[in-house]
């Protein structure tokens, strides 16, 4: 029983990371048709900024805030500087993000080395607590909590605000939004800011989860982010939320009850199977 509880919480914690990566990816793709290969780089920027601040005695909460802010700025700069000039050329936009996705991790390992750096975990988050006989690391709860807060905030933003309305309408039909006199490009910058913030937050939290940061972390989380986005249906935040729970749990349980690595494999096989049965993902929205 205690093993099942631990696996559930750990799976949900991992799912929370995936959700933070996938929610931004999904919004960006849904609105702009851009598969953002630089999303992993944004995560790494957030992770390193958080690590840097935490190692300079900022205190973890403040460091996390700093990392998120840096990631958000980087994401906005990416949209304004590289994506916007290629407006109406989605293929080139994707290629530009591929270039950034290659260059940024390389730059990070040039500055801080290719090896993993130990993440200074604050004492309050380093311990464990007992739940139904299982000894669960506290940081899993922080991850799940953060993902829930982001999910709630995104739902409020999309459902209750004018900008959120524009984003939802733009996911359906971008041209019609402009034909109503709305400058949809402002929504592009906005979803990049939101996506960058969530990815950078994921980076800061991944440091907590894995206990270290390294330049390749972003890239490997990005792959599972893609899996979650496609499973949940592109452009759907709620779909991503469901898919990340499924992916996180399947991965943990399969890894524990069979040989290590089979969990990752089963997630990938699950994606392929799902797409072949339901090409539009769980929520039926594939462009």
């Amino acid at each position: 029983m205690s093993t099942v509880v631990l696996l559930c919480i750990t799976g949900l914690g991992l799912g929370a990371l995936y959700f933070l990566v996938a929610s931004g990816l999904s919004l960006i793709f849904g609105l702009m048709d851009v598969l953002n290969f630089a999303h992993g780089a944004l995560l790494s920027v957030g992770a390193y900024a958080t690590w840097w601040a935490a190692s300079h005695s900022f205190g973890y909460p403040l460091a996390l805030l700093f990392g998120t802010a840096v990631g958000t700025l980087a994401s906005v700069a990416l949209e304004l500087g590289l994506i916007r000039p290629l407006y109406r050329r989605p293929r080139e936009q994707v290629l530009a993000t591929v270039g950034v996705g290659l260059a940024v991790p390389a730059l990070l390992s040039a500055i801080w080395g290719a090896d993993a750096r130990t993440f200074p975990v604050p004492g309050a988050l380093a311990g464990t607590f007992t739940l139904l006989g299982a000894s669960v690391p506290v940081n899993r709860l922080v991850l799940i909590g953060a993902a829930l807060v982001v999910l709630l905030a995104l739902r409020l933003f999309l459902g209750r605000t004018r900008h959120g309305l524009v984003v939802r309408a733009g996911v359906e039909d971008r041209a019609m939004v402009t034909a109503l006199g709305i400058d949809v490009r402002r929504a592009f910058t906005l979803v990049f800011a939101i996506g960058g913030a969530a990815a950078a937050l994921a980076g800061g939290l991944a440091g907590l989860y894995f206990g270290s940061v390294d330049p390749t972390q972003g890239g490997s989380l990005l792959i599972f982010g893609f899996v979650v986005v496609v499973m949940g249906g592109l452009g759907s935040v709620s779909g991503a939320a469901v898919a990340c729970v499924v992916v996180g749990l399947v991965q943990q349980f399969a890894n524990y009850y069979s040989t290590a690595g089979l969990g990752d494999l089963s997630v990938v096989v699950m994606l392929a199977a799902l797409l072949l049965v339901r090409p539009s993902g769980l929520t039926g929205r594939l462009a």
Binding site: E92, S109, V269, P279
Partner: protein, 356 residues
Amino acid sequence: MNVPAVNVASLLRRWWPVPALVVLVLLPYSALPLPGLLDGPIGSPGSLQLLALCLVFGALATGYDLLLGRTGLLSFGHALYFAAGTYATDLMLTQAGLGFWPAAGLGLLSGVVLATLLGSVSLRMTGIGFAMVTLAFAQAGSILVQRDPGGVTGGEEGLAATGLPGSLVGIQHTANLYWIALAYLVVTLVSVRWTVRSPIGRVWEGIRENERRVEVLGLRPYGFKLVAFVLAGTLAALGGVVYLLLTGGATPQTTTSDFTLSLLVMVVLGGSGTRWGPLVGGVLYTWAQHRLASLAGSGTIAGLPSVLRVPLSQPLFLLGVLFVIVVYALPGGVAGLPARVRARTVSRSVPRGVQA
């Protein structure tokens, strides 16, 4: 007497790849040093090794462009078929103890079978769905190799090949490996050229431009796309076998999505959908990566201030930045450069002519 001169020019324009090939075949006999471009003279083993790698990646990019540039299929799983060629051959050598040629044949066959199976499944999807399914399959392969089931793939360490024929091993036989790489390039270029100009190639072009219109003509794009996918997969598997010889083993890096992305970068760098572009891109990328890496280790860079030294020490950083610049400034890639220069000189000279 003007006529033969014209004929020579037009003959040369049509047949220049033949003398170029002759030059490439003879390169191992050259002791010409190319300071800056290569460390030793052309015929030295180090230079030949790098040149062979350049040719292999030029050919791989050419094969990948069969999907991307010719048929308009964005596959994120091309590494899988390359790795299948490498690892299957390697396993046949180390585990089954076969000789090199039967092992290579089986390695190639496994690439073909894998591409046929997975291609027929993934091509049921289009667009981004196709990209994701191919990524998923390749990722599965990559995980499998890295987790090292039963200790056969060597995991993170890679798997050194054993039992290779003596004439293909060792520094003194680098020229043989170079010629094999060159032969692989020729095979790739010829098969891509031949299929692209065949009736199938014209359907591929139609699919790239507008798949719906091909359907309206009463053709099923699926079969044509599968042919492209299997051919590209086969060429990649063949490249995997050649790569195994060149590096003496299999490495897990060749299974990753980063490997496929680097092929994508090569193709775009050189010019997607053009005859020579992917080759040029593959050669440039491979050469730059190796030169930049050795440059990073040299004293030239160590003496620079850290603002310059740190980014310059990472080839991938420079290549990523270069790639972004190409996407912006050179939409047709390097292969589109001559046409752009010509267009510019024409557009400059025309107004001058008008004024005069």
